[in-house]
């Protein structure tokens, strides 16, 4: 739809707006003007059925079918006139047409003039023939999709023609729990036990400052056991993990120390994403290659 001029915002008819936008659900007597009765009757049916259309393109397709030719040979000019006549008749019957039907009418009136008048060399933009060809393409494509939809729905369908197992056997889920613990966990647990009786971890004697030197000493001692990736935070000294100020100091110092050791090629650092946990691991001894 957006293809049709810039005239008005897309509005109004949606595919299941049955009833609300285009008034004439009830049968409205049609005041004939004489002429081809059959054509009149056909047009009348169309007008009365305006609710049944899925938008102006659908209406155009229906009108095109009355031309009884292959869509590729359709006369777009004739089609435009059919459509405009339809709109006029709907107006005469005071049927309220949704905005996009009117947008289409305006566009077709424009197209008609382009097709009828000799091309103005001063004007650029697509020719009437180009526009007409595109409209024909859209109609053909819509029709093709309709046919495809019908073929699809006519297939042997699951639950209608073809059936799945009626008595499926549930797959029993067996949960197995695997426990993990690292060497660092083990060492820390042991250290925790051995310092417990004391109730005076030495860090308590100091200010809430953990220096990088202290962190370096500590890390140097520990890093040999860090064979696997483990969180930087697991290297915080005991007693520094909880209190925010102490934790911050210890984290900063430990991080700085880890950078220092990484520079010395003693350990590797990694961080999966920004602000993600920083992990470290000892560098394999082979390495002159830096982290």
């Amino acid at each position: 739809m957006t293809a049709f001029l810039q005239a008005e915002p897309m509005a109004g008819t949606t595919d299941d707006s049955s009833g609300d936008s285009a008034g004439g659900a009830e049968v409205v007597p049609f005041a004939g003007h004489g002429g081809d009765v059959a054509a009149r009757l056909a047009a009348e049916t169309l007008v009365i059925d305006v609710d049944g259309f899925e938008g102006p393109l659908d209406l155009l397709l229906t009108l095109a079918r009355t031309q009884k030719v292959d869509l590729r040979q359709i006369s777009v000019l004739q089609l435009a006139e059919q459509y405009l006549r339809f709109v006029d008749e709907a107006r005469a019957l005071r049927l309220e047409l949704a905005a996009d039907y009117l947008v289409m009418a305006a566009w077709l009136a424009f197209l008609k003039s382009r097709l009828l008048l000799p091309p103005d060399p001063a004007e650029d933009g697509p020719s009437g023939d180009d526009l007409a060809a595109h409209l024909a393409f859209q109609l053909e494509r819509l029709e093709a999709m309709r046919a495809a939809a019908a073929k699809l729905m006519a297939r042997d369908r699951l639950g209608q023609d073809v059936f799945a197992r009626g008595l499926p056997e549930a797959v029993e889920r067996v949960r197995r729990v695997s426990y993990t613990a690292t060497l660092m966990d083990l060492m820390q647990a042991y250290a925790r036990i051995r310092t417990r009786d004391d109730f005076r971890p030495y860090v308590m004697d100091r200010e809430n400052v953990f220096t990088m030197e202290m962190a370096l000493d500590r890390l140097r001692g520990l890093i040999g056991f860090a064979g696997e990736w483990s969180d930087l935070t697991s290297y915080l000294p005991p007693g520094w993990e909880v209190d925010p100020a102490r934790r911050r100091a210890a984290t900063a110092a430990t991080f700085a120390a880890s950078l220092e050791l990484a520079k010395e090629g003693k350990l590797h650092l990694r961080q999966a994403d920004t602000f993600g946990p920083i992990q470290l691991r000892r560098a394999e001894r082979s390495g002159g290659d830096g982290a």
Partner: protein, 235 residues
């Protein structure tokens, strides 16, 4: 333990064979058969392999099994990257009891489904362009609820619009091996009816759609009756 070190050299002992070698193909076929029979949903080759003993290759056993069921009351069918057992379509008349009452789908829903199927991945704007009418939320929601369409990748164009693609349940429901087997797909493509042809004069802004449906693109030129190129070896 001991076998492991022994395995380093010398011919494998019998014990080792049973331990580390996949079950014979006939046995694998039985396993695939059992798993597929037990499931109402299609089962992927990956899941089959995951459930079968180490080293088993469902991809090899499946075609054998499918052949075995040719002409039987049930068939082994392929559904995208998965496989399922389904009753033979000609016996559907026996299953009144199992027939699922389906909601009558609106024309809008059916057409939208077809457009998604044939044009996937397709944006809502493209669906509207083809149908010439706005697509209501309810229609899309219904198709998603039926598990026939789902969101695909966003299109890398201004606004990064979301696209729709069909699901495995869609293939299963309509008895399709893959979206390439959609009825009339080749003819439609040959006739240019699956092209996105921008309206004249709108070329620039419509370059949005210069990418063709990825799903179909890798399918090379219309092949002969041998059909479905690239399908053969994939499983």
């Amino acid at each position: 333990m001991t076998d492991e070190t022994a395995g380093a050299e010398g011919p494998p002992t019998d014990d080792e064979r049973t331990l580390f070698e996949a079950p014979p193909l006939g046995e694998q076929e039985r396993m695939v058969e059992a798993i597929l029979f037990a499931s109402a949903e299609p089962v992927t080759v990956a899941e089959l392999n995951a459930r079968m003993p180490h080293g088993a290759d469902a991809g090899r056993a499946l075609p054998e099994l499918a052949r075995r069921y040719e002409g039987r009351g049930v068939r082994v069918v392929r559904v995208g990257d998965a496989w399922a057992i389904r009753t033979a379509p000609d016996l559907g008349f026996l299953m009144q009891k199992e027939t699922v009452e389906t909601r009558k789908l609106s024309r809008a829903a059916i057409e939208t489904l077809a457009i998604v199927a044939y044009h996937q991945p397709v944006t809502r704007a493209e669906i509207e362009e083809i149908r010439g009418v706005a697509v209501s939320r309810g229609t899309v929601d219904l198709l998603i609820e039926l598990d026939w369409i789902r969101f695909g990748r966003r299109r890398e164009t201004p606004g990064r619009p979301v696209t729709f693609v069909t699901t495995r349940a869609f293939l299963d429901h309509f008895g399709l091996e893959s979206a390439k087997d959609l009825p009339g797909l080749r003819e439609l493509r040959a006739a240019g009816l699956l092209d996105n042809r921008p309206p004249p004069g709108m070329g620039a802004e419509d370059e949005e759609r210069d990418d063709q449906p990825e799903l179909f693109e890798d399918d090379p030129a219309p092949a002969g009756p041998t059909a479905a190129p690239g399908e053969g070896g994939r499983e």
